[in-house]
């Protein structure tokens, strides 16, 4: 995808006990996730992009149009954005349909975007339209809020931890809608989250924030394969591969996915042949061997080249970045094994991948 820096965000914002100071260039395409723990400034940055906050010093340009530059400030209602808040924030005096109509009436039909029926279908809320927000569950409310934001026909969709206030079952209900949204609409999205799982499933571009500063920014694959990833992901450390389903084995209920540089056998998740999927390979699920073994229970054994070795959180462990064609993997091994196998950049080894999850 084009790494076209079409959202420039240079923001300096100071509150008595907080300071946001970033200078970012984000792609105006795909999903950019602002990742960090609470207090990192990710929501504040999102609100600055929306025009809901006005930092004293900022330069925000979207596809060449300045939204804030010097004294020039475009207020929120004039920016072509859609915004989904953490708590759905539906208008209580209107039904679900009323909320959607509120947006639809204010959209310019000449702008690109979905119409009423499409939004309802995409979010699966057709049966909820007459109800008042108080009669909807959290997940239902959030889906209506997302549909409402889409109906304004935005050029940029901003989402502030839309799943954070939902319990697991509701998250499972809404997340696929977001994935569909991403796949079917081609609308650039800036998405705030502190969940590595959401990052893995949705992000194309990642910005890591901590205490008001951007620690890292870049394409997902590249960032996740950094050994010095600024936020300790612990058990979540690992890469995400963009792949497509090339084969399905009905007998063993397995599917083969192909990505640039290699292929993997994974559990069959019901995807169609040719369907594009994301595959998550956690560092803890990769072990390294000097030779190729097919006499173990591990299904996947791939030839890789060691690129770099770095320290992990625990002194006894190490993270190893591996190159597989264009793709990168990250493995976690013990320091002892690294020494024992004489791992060093350039060495060719075999990566044994115990399990990979289809997202």
């Amino acid at each position: 995808m084009a790494n076209d820096p079409s959202i420039q965000a240079r923001v300096l914002l100071e509150y008595p006990d907080f300071r946001l100071d970033v200078d970012l260039a984000l792609p105006a395409a795909g999903v950019t996730v602002l990742f960090g723990h609470s207090g990192s400034g990710k929501t504040t940055l999102l609100r600055c992009l929306a025009g809901l906050e006005r930092p004293r010093t900022a330069r925000i340009v979207f596809r060449g149009a300045p939204w804030q530059a010097g004294p020039h400030f475009v207020p929120a209602h004039r920016r072509p954005i859609g915004y989904v808040f953490q708590e759905a924030s539906l208008f209580p005096h209107l039904s679900a349909r009323g909320n959607l109509e509120f947006a639809r009436r204010r959209a310019d039909p000449r702008d690109a975007g979905v119409d009423f029926a499409q939004a309802v279908e995409l979010l699966g809320i057709g049966h909820l339209l007459q109800r008042r927000p108080a009669e909807l569950s959290g997940g239902e409310r959030q889906r209506v809020a997302i549909a409402r934001a889409l109906l304004i026909r935005p050029q940029l969709l901003l989402m502030d931890e839309p799943l954070a206030s939902l319990d697991l079952p509701r998250k499972r209900e809404v997340l696929p809608c977001l994935e569909r949204l991403k796949a079917e609409l081609g609308l650039p999205i800036v998405y705030v989250s502190h969940s590595p799982d959401e990052v893995a499933r949705l992000a194309d571009h990642l910005v890591v924030l901590e205490q008001g500063r951007a620690l890292a920014a870049g394409p997902l694959a590249e960032l996740l394969s950094r050994l010095d990833f600024p936020v300790h992901l612990g058990e979540d450390a690992g890469v995400v591969l963009e792949a497509s389903v090339s084969e399905r084995d009905a007998r063993w209920h397995l599917a083969k996915v192909v990505f640039p540089g290699g292929e993997l056998w994974v559990r069959d998740g019901g995807q169609a042949l040719g369907e594009r999927v994301r595959v998550r390979v956690l560092a803890r699920d990769i072990s390294l061997a000097l030779g190729h073994h097919d006499d173990s229970s591990i299904l996947n054994s791939l030839p890789v080249t060691v690129e770099a070795i770095g320290a992990d959180q625990h002194p006894g462990l190490a993270l190893v970045r591996l190159a597989l064609g264009e793709s990168r993997l990250v493995a976690r091994v013990t320091q002892r094994s690294a020494t024992h196998l004489a791992l060093e950049p350039g060495k060719r080894v075999w990566a044994q991948i115990k399990s990979a999850a289809l997202l």
Binding site: L52, Y83, R148
Partner: protein
């Protein structure tokens, strides 16, 4: 027992309360909106100014209005320049006096209603391309509806009971300024207690019903805080 003059006073009182309430809602609603949202340094002194009629004796209010609206006062000079004479002893003058007198009773519930909205509904509206006027009319007003209704009922009931101000600038003119409260007073002064009982009793019944209705209304909505 109720004479034609009494019916005239009743009709006048209702008319005064209705007109005052209508004017007041037009004036107080945007004022309350501004007070609820502004961070200007003028907010405190202005809020105190508008709350003055709550604590000032109505006769003080009436006294100053008499001077201001009289031919030697600035308002009086203005109205004379407009060619409409002076305002004391006229229904219009009474409406203006009533609006000032009942202002805080409309302003406070309305302001509270707007404040309790919080910033979120308006932010949502802004992200849905709603400009400031659009937000005020299509989001703030409907959400604050109950508080505004309370403000109107309160202003109406309060104007019905207005006395001190009327005494100062009314002049007892039947059909123009001789409202119920003054009529009751006149009957008492003249020891006509039967008439006084009829009118006063009727007013008590009316006010009670109005308040009952107000509380019933608020039971359905968020609790209202009355500042007295």
């Amino acid at each position: 027992m109720i004479t034609a003059l009494h019916w005239q006073a009743i009709w006048l009182t209702l008319k005064l309360a209705a007109v005052t309430t209508a004017v007041l809602m037009l004036v107080a609603t945007p004022l309350a909106w501004w007070l609820a949202r502004t961070r200007s340094r003028l907010k405190q002194p202005l809020a105190a100014l508008f709350a003055l009629p709550l604590v000032l004796p109505p006769t003080v209010l009436g006294f100053y209005l008499l001077l201001l609206m009289g031919p030697h006062g600035p308002v009086g000079a203005f109205t004379q320049w407009l060619g409409i004479g002076t305002l004391p002893f006229t229904f219009t003058g009474l409406v203006i006096a009533s609006v000032i007198y009942s202002l805080p009773f409309a302003l406070q519930p309305a302001q509270t209603a707007f404040e309790s909205l919080g910033p979120r509904p308006l932010e949502v509206a802004a992200t849905l391309r709603a400009g400031p006027w659009d937000r005020a009319v299509h989001v703030a007003l409907p959400l604050a509806r109950n508080g505004l209704l309370s403000a109107a009922v309160l202003a109406f009931a309060h104007t019905i009971g207005e006395f001190g101000v009327v005494l100062m600038i009314g002049g007892n003119i039947p059909g123009a300024t001789q409202v119920l409260s003054v009529t009751v007073f006149n009957h008492v002064e003249a020891m006509e207690y039967v008439e006084a009982h009829w009118l006063a009793g009727g007013m008590v019944a009316f006010s009670f019903t109005a308040l009952l209705g107000l509380y019933a209304l608020n039971r359905r909505a968020a609790p209202l805080s009355l500042v007295n």
